[in-house]
Amino acid sequence: MSKLIEIIAGIFLLYLTACQQNPAENQAHRHNVQEAHTVSETDELPGNSIYHFDYTWTDSHDQTVQLADFKGRPVVISMIYTHCGYACPMMIQDLKNIASEFDSNQTLPFELVLISFDHIRDTPERLHSYASAQQLSDQWHLLHGNADQIKDMAVALGISFEMSEDGDITHSNRKILLDKNGVVVYTVDGLSTPAIDFAQKIKTI
């Protein structure tokens, strides 16, 4: 009888030592390991630059990119997804129209960045074939990221979106002009918007 009690008590004790954790310690640990973003060598940027979001993205050439890599040139940025049948091709057409306001024999004086809403289906390969089909030059950067960073960028850019169960994404259509430091200087909502106004804005930077 006493043996049995000792064994039970022993097992109990073993279980305790194995499982007991100090919750405070555990929490502190999680605080330390789970940091995602926000600080890097971007201190010289203005405080309102979206380049402070130092997430790493993958472009359609499978290269890793941070938004701050575009520092030094104006950037036209928007968000799309490649399974989008109607609005996104129109958005791309709008951006092409803006580009065509510039001399086609020369490198564009700005870069075009398109962040995909769809972190699941828009793999870098998929973005690559989409860019080819749309005949986009190397100055177009189609970016793939994870759900968290996509949501952060959308909120930072004021673009709302919602994924439905059937894979459609409801989203707002906004094109944004960033200055050389990643600060938003011009925003246009909607589709089929006049290219010339946008091009004029780019030329003022």
Partner: protein
């Protein structure tokens, strides 16, 4: 000798039981409750629109100043001195400025406010959690106060009274009311950030200009609105859609959610 051994065994057993029980309490992460799956009917999308909400976990109480202070201590980039305006505007944590020691004591158990969406999100992420979605939040908040029936108008009364009040000095978290899920102060204390606070700005199709659901506006087809008496729901939606990710507001705090059972 044998009797002695026996006694030692029993003592060990008692110690084991005591420790085991206390460990179990910690292991359950008492700060969150499980919200069972169900449906949420948004008041603006027509009577037949039901949004399913999967089982999730939600903090029982709003995040306090004290808890947020610990987070900032571990993540100095979120201190008001260091935070970039793109993540939080100039009023971020402004209520912490020039506070006396007694202020600090009083504030410590009150919900943290003047925090941006980016900041709230970073806080939750640091604990392996996230912000609740609008559907999750509204669904969880729709539960009646403990001991009251769902058909009772008590909830609408609590909300309406609260919304019509001037902002008063805060109360400690967990002091207004507990609902049947075990959540404290979903209404009556401060407003809370949700993950998709900006969702109302998107249109129901992606064809053209952004369209805010028509049912929301006075004079427009209010047929779409499920319950016209849910004026307070309207106010919440209108408030959320006026926000931006880096905005901070003096009566806007947050609590965190998790999709799976939280770690102990």
């Amino acid at each position: 000798m044998n009797r002695n051994k026996n006694r030692i065994g029993i003592i060990w057993l008692i110690i084991g039981l005591v420790l085991g029980t206390s460990y179990k309490l910690i292991a359950q992460d008492a700060s969150m409750v499980k919200i069972p799956d169900g449906y949420w009917r948004p008041f603006f999308k027509g009577t037949d629109t039901l949004i399913s909400v999967s089982t999730f976990y939600l903090d029982k109480k709003q995040v306090t100043n004290e808890e947020y202070e610990q987070f900032v201590a571990h993540h100095p980039e979120w201190s008001s001195e260091k935070v970039k305006p793109v993540f939080a505007d100039e009023n971020y944590l402004i209520h912490w400025k020039n506070r006396s020691e007694s202020d600090q004591r009083v504030l410590s158990k009150q919900p943290v406010v003047n925090v941006s969406w980016f900041a709230a999100r970073a806080y939750c992420r640091s604990l392996g959690k996230r912000l609740p979605t609008t559907a999750e939040w509204e669904y969880a908040a729709s539960a009646p106060p403990i001991g009251r029936s769902i058909n009772d108008s008590i909830l609408q009364e609590i909300i309406a009274n609260w919304y019509s009040r001037r902002i008063e000095a805060g109360k400690p978290v967990g002091s207004i009311y507990e609902n049947s899920y075990g959540l404290w102060d979903m209404y009556g204390q401060v407003w809370e950030w949700v993950l998709d606070f900006d969702a109302m700005k998107s249109s129901d199709d992606s064809r053209g200009q952004d369209v805010i659901p028509q049912g929301l506006f006075c004079g427009s087809a209010s047929m779409d609105v499920v319950d016209a008496s849910d004026y307070t729901g309207f106010i919440r939606f209108a408030f959320r859609s006026s926000l931006k990710g880096n905005y901070t507001v003096r009566n806007l705090g947050f609590r965190c959610a998790a999709s799976s059972a939280p770690h102990p």
